[in-house]
Symmetry: D3
Subunit: 281 residues, 6 copies
Amino acid sequence: MTTPTLTPKYFNITYPQEYVAHVEINRADKMNSFFEAMWLELHTIFTHLSHSPTVRAIILSGAGPKAFTAGLDVKAASQGLLSSDDSQSDPARKAFHLRRHITSFQDCISAIERCEKPVIVAMHGFSLGLAVDIATAADVRLCAADTKFAVKEVDIGLAADIGTLSRLPKVVGNFGWVKEVALSARVFGAEEALRVGFVSQVFGGKEEVLKGALEIAGLIASKSPVAVLGTKDILNWSRDRSVEDGLRYTSVWNSAALQTKDVSAALLSGIQKRKPTFEKL
Amino acid sequence: MTTPTLTPKYFNITYPQEYVAHVEINRADKMNSFFEAMWLELHTIFTHLSHSPTVRAIILSGAGPKAFTAGLDVKAASQGLLSSDDSQSDPARKAFHLRRHITSFQDCISAIERCEKPVIVAMHGFSLGLAVDIATAADVRLCAADTKFAVKEVDIGLAADIGTLSRLPKVVGNFGWVKEVALSARVFGAEEALRVGFVSQVFGGKEEVLKGALEIAGLIASKSPVAVLGTKDILNWSRDRSVEDGLRYTSVWNSAALQTKDVSAALLSGIQKRKPTFEKL
Amino acid sequence: MTTPTLTPKYFNITYPQEYVAHVEINRADKMNSFFEAMWLELHTIFTHLSHSPTVRAIILSGAGPKAFTAGLDVKAASQGLLSSDDSQSDPARKAFHLRRHITSFQDCISAIERCEKPVIVAMHGFSLGLAVDIATAADVRLCAADTKFAVKEVDIGLAADIGTLSRLPKVVGNFGWVKEVALSARVFGAEEALRVGFVSQVFGGKEEVLKGALEIAGLIASKSPVAVLGTKDILNWSRDRSVEDGLRYTSVWNSAALQTKDVSAALLSGIQKRKPTFEKL
Amino acid sequence: MTTPTLTPKYFNITYPQEYVAHVEINRADKMNSFFEAMWLELHTIFTHLSHSPTVRAIILSGAGPKAFTAGLDVKAASQGLLSSDDSQSDPARKAFHLRRHITSFQDCISAIERCEKPVIVAMHGFSLGLAVDIATAADVRLCAADTKFAVKEVDIGLAADIGTLSRLPKVVGNFGWVKEVALSARVFGAEEALRVGFVSQVFGGKEEVLKGALEIAGLIASKSPVAVLGTKDILNWSRDRSVEDGLRYTSVWNSAALQTKDVSAALLSGIQKRKPTFEKL
Amino acid sequence: MTTPTLTPKYFNITYPQEYVAHVEINRADKMNSFFEAMWLELHTIFTHLSHSPTVRAIILSGAGPKAFTAGLDVKAASQGLLSSDDSQSDPARKAFHLRRHITSFQDCISAIERCEKPVIVAMHGFSLGLAVDIATAADVRLCAADTKFAVKEVDIGLAADIGTLSRLPKVVGNFGWVKEVALSARVFGAEEALRVGFVSQVFGGKEEVLKGALEIAGLIASKSPVAVLGTKDILNWSRDRSVEDGLRYTSVWNSAALQTKDVSAALLSGIQKRKPTFEKL
Amino acid sequence: MTTPTLTPKYFNITYPQEYVAHVEINRADKMNSFFEAMWLELHTIFTHLSHSPTVRAIILSGAGPKAFTAGLDVKAASQGLLSSDDSQSDPARKAFHLRRHITSFQDCISAIERCEKPVIVAMHGFSLGLAVDIATAADVRLCAADTKFAVKEVDIGLAADIGTLSRLPKVVGNFGWVKEVALSARVFGAEEALRVGFVSQVFGGKEEVLKGALEIAGLIASKSPVAVLGTKDILNWSRDRSVEDGLRYTSVWNSAALQTKDVSAALLSGIQKRKPTFEKL
């Protein structure tokens, strides 16, 4: 299978540094809000980058000064997801159609988590609703000081269903805070996000958070991809399972991974005090 | 099934605001310490409020200036739970009787977690032993600055068995701290509780924490109950399961919930910049 | 089965206080770095202390001023684990051999977690790689201000496989931070470790952290061993399972444990305001 | 808590032999079909017998010559469960009400599984729909040669929701057969039920199956109740969990249960070749 | 999303009866053995039929007189899956590539299980290796008397990795038999398959098994699709989870599904003794 | 680590054929009943054979004409396990000691399941109590026509705790039968064992069952050990987990295992119609 070159419509993809891809949500005039074609494209992009041998770390951010993403484009959504089956008068049949839509939507956002390469999300401005679903599916969360977060869904009569409610309790170890922000839909800022551990670092502004993301991405991209991809995979597996199942999976994983030449490459360059290079993966 | 009016003996129930219930442990002269009839009544109350259409958020606090609750009424307990089977000379049979008692006791406190409506616990003064079991079964934990917490059970020769050991590691994401306070039974204060995330906010005194709880409860009660109750249920489900099982459960849940009129009601009042009203649930 | 007296070669074991054992990694000239004979001995020690009736709490630290442990003795390891099967030209067979090694290694470190008695790890100086695997298997983590931590494995081309990736997400409730340090292998210090909850307390220097560890160990050792050992076991069980399975296991556990005389001993000495004494376990 | 004497309205309870209770569904004129008051009473009965010291095994059967039970009284149900919320025009709110009903209904039938004492179900004639839900919640299934079974729910437009779909795949190890009968609603007879392992034995007629049930119940009732109740509890736990979690739960359970005097009583009477007697439980 | 018409290359799709689709593996000259393009197409077909409103049950069989499928086309596979990375000299990198291939292959076969509609597999002749992977992903297994089955993989040096080892122990409740056939790769026939429950029925020849499959498919297709699709989904969910999680999922599922008009349609036509018709789904 | 030669005291180990080991319980004068030293030795043997490169399949049987094993040597046990702590008057402390004993005992029997090589148990005569624990830990169960089985534990006042209750429901897909034999302790014979799937085949007598076991063992031993050991490991993993977790584990396992030269060796000898030889493992 040859991988086709990506020519996304709603996203910019650049390569600011060797082995680092930068995916930018590109709908600044609408606060980078999402409609269905966008999350389908997001899925395509991350599925592609997942196997791309020239990419070892990915940054995800939003275009324009105002928002990472203001979430679902409610207008588009109300014409789509929520109203698509209005003709359908049987609530059970409507439920089947809704469930198919939700499952497909969840699957698109989960492509970020399934992506073999680490994803660093760099947020600024409005980061509402779907922004949190996306952020929790990523590996590292950074933000600018002006970021405004909200698990906004209850404000439009919904329980968030694209990942926030399933992932936020596993990303932030403060279940009371998770409940409070998810039940009240209140806005919280960068400092609060840092304090509870929703983000790892806060930066001055959009430029700074992008620079910070690039630094981390660059650092990760300089390591053995065998080690990095294994680490992401095993951490996600272990998060959801018992320590015992985590250890066993790790032992099976590493029975192949330890056979990499990267180990001797890394050890040797450590001794020679030079930067190691690793084969593509 | 018509729901009988509640006339509790050991608790006060008031309705400080539309859709908000306030349950107060009412045994101030004994530091609100619990004996069996009390936890059975607690079970009845929360099971009732769970389905009451006029309640959308619940505050739980303790009467009097001294304590949320000092925990188990050890005197009563030593006449009950622990000694009830002293005549029984067969340790295996005694174990059956103890297990039945523990299971019934656990089930009563779990009624807070099973309650469909969010429960905000507002603590002050002594909040020992059973207080922590109760608090971890609630959704949001707030406290006054003078609150004294302890996972007190090891001090009376017990491993805490009414929920603390099962829920605290899932409520606070600092397993070392959880182990330390549970193994040492040492007292910790409001600031420490805030720092580790056991409580979400600390308030000046009892009045202030109640006011703070009412504010959060009022905010939650102003939202769509379909959205709020779904959010609580899905968060509790997801906490205990893999992200994948969380996503799937959410998709099934929302296949019915998205059919609510609350979505259009919320969207419309958003456009019209007025407070939405939602049908009872 | 009479338990043989321990005469370890790579560890010092002392008893600084009644019911408290202090295990010291004793290879200071090599920064307490580990090779296979050492982790096999670690396993023997903790398996022994687990059942030793005169031990109720254990401190684990490293000898010398420089390091708790700098991790795997890479030199020894590269002659052992990683290269032992170089003659083997079949990657599948090599994978079997590697998996057996990893499983055996994991099992040795897990002896700390399986040990019935609480283990307090007191760290200082370099605490790299295997140091984090060991620390996450312990119950309480303390450190000196000069401690330098790193999940170092990706730097030598590996995904950490002796426990860090399985346990760290369950010990620290900040999954973004866990990912970042595990993916980047960057060093983090005592203050950062405290802020994210990897350690519970930071002390001035090595002496102070040992003193602090002794204080906690002494406090725990003064409690009913029935209560303390039950608390450790139930917390570890509950961490990995649903609240429901946690509650049920607890009820079965306590159906035996509540029959201890320690309860009345504890209650009585509480009334008499004297320190209780508890039978050996 | 003194247990009140049972005076059921829709069931007969007799005690055909020491330590054996026989619960008979007593609505023969309506083919023993169920409406809500009946399953609430079933719940009360099995919760009561679960702790009754004079009961060690329970037989469940249906009165009259025609049916164990023809299932849900569809007429009553269509006035109740399915239509009760017709006034409710919001499908999400209706879903909440339906879910509460289903949960309560499930909980009543699960009382058979939760009952500490083994339950032997003796079926004959029509055993449709709810009959299968009930039978799978029991421990041992026996039937008369004339029994007609069907997982009937799809024939009335439903997925069976009171337990059959959750329990049947765990009771019968032939998943293709389970799917086929559940998807087609076709009737199957006693011989087929025996061949796939849905029932353990087939008897000539109703009298014979009751006699057979009494024989097994009597045999079980002659054993140590500590051993019997532990065996049921551990088997149900293990069915749903990994072998590892099964073994660990068993070790904790038996750490109390092995302290019973029944072991020496059983061993001694074995030596003396007489029937042991065991204390009540 | 409009669904494109299917024009498969390696399969025939016919509609022998209203609401029934028949998918036939169409490579009779090569014993219907599979190569990559075929399983990718299989995935497309079942994903399409899953949502097709005119399909309610699916039959899967193999063209020609000799085989359902002889399994993997080893020649094609040895040029593809197994050798594709021969240039790759790093076993860890090769492992990544192999894992991606296996995951993609598994995902294609799992499309049969994920398909919302029941799948009846009608086997005859050689049904080796991949045939068993496919059959265990289906819902009902039927076969002709001449069918020759084998879990063939160990004979080519592999542990079966496309589903047999994960699903067979859940489809057949005889773990010793599962182990024996999987470890020995020995051929077993129709009668043995029936006896252990791997197939539900054995028919004379290919024509008869197809006729039998059509009968079951037709019966299922005559039922309410809301009921049938819910039954398949809940049974698959419950198979892998505890009874408790099964019951809860069912209650949430049915809170929407019970609102279908199919219930009244089914009840009414029951009373009127005529065949009900149900809306498309 | 060089493996010491085994010189067992209570077992005979022979090698009837290349790559096949035969372990015989050698205490025929006491019906091969077990005491503690025996199960500790059993553990040593299976742990050793697990890694022995000259063993690819193992047969386990009992010496003498009368019994595979009559189970626990009750006399020895009553002096050991059950009475060892009689001096201990605290039931909680006694529970700790009992739990340690049970855990150690379980761990010894589980060595059969953990053994990387398939274990075929060949039973005859009395096969009571512990015999069933042992048999369920093995992979394939065969027996002679005269075999008398019983889950005997309830007859001595115990719930079986060495594995039967955890494994039998996963080995035999007839939960009602499992319950019945475990609750009643009644004897069942070879034919019944075959019918429910507890054994795979019944042979005339002891010689025949041994011959049958040797045939299966020989067949398995002739296959690629990479394929065989992987198949056992993956089947055991999958039995206890969801299909999804089974598939993922398999993909990781095979990413190393598929790199074996055994695949080409097997394919080549298939073409050349000769028996392949495989390197040691």
